[in-house]
Symmetry: C2
Subunit: 443 residues, 2 copies
């Protein structure tokens, strides 16, 4: 078999066999197929598409390109003898998406083991690893053994993806990023699911974001992605649900690493923005049902709500921070988290209803402040960010605070101010608030 | 402008602007765009296609990526004061295609200056540079100054392409070769024409081969390529004609470098195979008219025929060999050309009409003997090859010589014999001979 023949077959619209896909993925991972051949192959896959069978084979080939974690010995039983599956959750990424910070300890506090590897931010979207690293000392580079041991010990782990997990996806994703081959549903499905399958959880909830601050801009694309993810998970014998959620405006109020950690802490302690809190509880209820912990949606929501209100989730978060080497006093007293030297509230330039808050623009404003990265590997400033004080539909009065900029540089502060101001649009007529979720996809 | 945006625009079916195409070509030539981005771009161009305008801009950008030869001071005038344009000819490549070896001196002997750069063989197709290098001492690496000086001096030059000519095409072609992006009509058109435009001739005859031994397998593709080449040449103010000629069986009888030089010498001296001689005279007549030397086709054919019969073309060939440092005694006495140690005639296995002779298989048999290359840069053995003794339609008798293998290795000889035998198919019923030409395309 030759790489050239596999490229030509897909170029001509052919369906690649399992062997051809495995050949290409293995050879590329082993540096025996050069980047330029993989780039031509990816563009052919992008433009000619992939069947469900090809997508599955690509996913499996990438999942098996490195370690496949076996978490079966972490599956627990309830008092009634029911199995509690190990759960994982994936978000396709957005602005202000700090869900995992609250969700993981909340679920673990409900007795369901959570084993989650997570990523860094790129472009306008933030990454959970970056947010966690706002907490002094928090380790995001756990190895496979420590990963498993911590789930065993405290029922929850939240760390960066190890290099041994789906290395083929890591290499192909980096190449897609620089060859304009990112926005392909089958390639996105296989990238997400190869990592999730390798990470070993039995039950996976997928949070597919749609809107101006998400990769999927249309409902059609979001549905195609959600269905693709769910089908693939089921074919791999996982329990899977996908939720399609809104990402037209930031989720919650804080955008920026330490600011988001602080908002997550507020939420774990019983406060936090309403939309963020409701979003977390909705996802939590799905996970609790999927894992086998609770059968009915009402009971699942009640359990999640009680666990949040009782402080059990907050206590589990403290355990998590401590287990991964983080400074617990910094989360107990969030003023010890990194803080920007300039904190400037910006007033609303007019009265009216908030018509839209362009999420991607807020994300890019934070990148401009130094809180995100334009290219992989760039260092980031955890202290900076933007806190929006309103949501779409709110009626506001001219001169009241519209948002607050946290910056360490006067010029960057001004640029961010202009950008975030321009990202807010107003209307004289009442505006409907945006929904949190659009659809629940189970097949 | 960013390479990524240009890739994405073509990926999404957009029409690239002249500036975008020039940006990509210049940056890639300067090593400021990496191979993997160019590979993704080429696959997007291949699959999404290019408009005539894009093809022209790509051609011009590649032509202008290096030296643009100005041959205007070589344009001569006839006694009647008419201009004689400098001519060039390009064949899309085939098996046994030694046309340039006879055509160039023939045209020059008719008084029309011939300035031709030519290439090496790859895969089943031979290359004129390799054939010329069968002649001891013949230099194929003339610089631009020597190239022009020789046309001035003896009216003809036949050498390899200089590195300074269309370097963008050289780099992109090498990448297409390893990324399955060769067989795209707009990319082939721009590759051929960028070199031809940079080489400076005013009148260009394009010999587009069609058949099992050519890159174009269908008449539809050959026509599309021929029309594309002619349109582009005219847009660049060149006089252009394309001929679509047969390449289902080898042209002439000899396939292999020194063997083809010998057949060319036979033809220049008044002998040679009928099909090859007729092919050369037909192309010559086109060139004589295109250059302004003769207005009518009949007169052009008569002039070409007379110049071949009189020995003037042969004399010009000797001048050419001498001017480029070749050993004239070796062409005067072709037994001094490289000769294989084993020369083995193979008998026809049955009686019947020759139904087909798979040209690509003959070409690959010669590669197997060491007379061609599978990868760029491989050294080749000029002495080996195959001489077929019959053409499609011939009635042959079992036991008479069907072809002769020239080899330097017993095992390779046997492999070539089996391959060439299998490439000959027979019929009990009379078979129509193949035509030499199918179409003449002028717009």
């Amino acid at each position: 078999m030759q790489a050239l023949d596999v490229i030509a077959k897909k170029r001509d619209g052919g369906e690649l066999s399992k062997e051809e896909i495995e050949f290409f993925v293995q050879r590329y991972t082993d540096d025996r197929i050069p980047d330029y051949q993989a780039a031509a192959w990816l563009m052919a896959l992008f433009l000619e598409g992939m069947t469900d069978r090809e997508t599955r084979d690509l996913t499996m080939a990438m999942a098996h390109s490195g370690d496949m974690l076996d978490l079966s010995d972490l599956v627990r039983s309830t008092e009634s003898g029911r199995k509690l599956l190990v759960v994982d959750k994936h978000s396709t990424g957005g602005v202000g998406d700090k869900v995992s910070l609250v969700l993981a300890p909340l679920i673990a506090a409900c007795g369901v083991p959570v084993a989650k590897m997570t990523g860094r931010g790129l472009g306008f979207t933030g990454g959970t690893v970056d947010k966690l690293e706002s907490i002094p000392g928090y380790r995001t580079d756990l190895g496979v053994d420590a990963f498993k041991a911590q789930v065993e010990q405290i029922g929850v782990v939240l760390t960066g993806q190890t290099a041994d997990l789906a290395p083929a996806d890591q290499k192909l994703y980096a190449l897609r990023d620089v060859t304009a081959t990112v926005e392909s549903i089958p390639l996105i499905v296989s990238s997400i699911m190869s990592k999730k399958l390798a990470a070993g959880a039995d039950a996976i909830v997928l949070d597919v974001k749609i809107g101006k601050g998400a990769f999927m801009k249309t409902m059609e694309d979001a549905e195609a992605l959600a269905h693709g993810l769910v089908r693939l998970g089921k074919q791999a014998d996982r329990k899977v649900v996908a939720l399609i959620s809104d990402m037209n405006q930031p989720l919650g109020r804080a955008v920026g690493n330490a600011l988001e950690v602080r908002e997550a802490i507020d939420t774990l302690r019983g406060g936090g923005p309403q939309d963020f809190r409701d979003h977390v509880l909705t996802v939590a209820a799905e996970i609790l049902r999927l894992s086998g912990r609770v059968a009915e949606r009402d009971a699942a929501l009640t359990l999640a709500l009680d666990t949040l209100s009782s402080g059990a989730a907050w206590q589990k978060f403290r355990d998590l921070v401590e287990a991964q080497g983080g400074d617990v006093s910094a989360v107990d007293n969030p003023d010890e988290l990194p803080q920007a030297s300039m904190v400037k509230p910006i007033e609303a330039p007019r009265s009216g209803y908030v018509r839209s808050i362009e999420a991607a623009e807020i994300g890019l404003a934070v990148v401009g402040l130094g809180g995100g990265r334009e290219e992989k590997g760039q260092p980031i400033d955890h202290s900076v960010g933007v806190v929006v004080h309103h949501k779409v539909g709110d009626l506001i009065q001219k001169g009241t605070p519209l948002f607050t900029i946290h910056a360490n540089d006067e010029k960057k502060l001004e640029e961010a101010r202009d950008r975030v101001l321009a990202a807010h649009r107003f209307s004289d007529q009442p505006v409907q608030p945006l929904p949190l979720f659009y659809q629940r996809i189970t097949e």
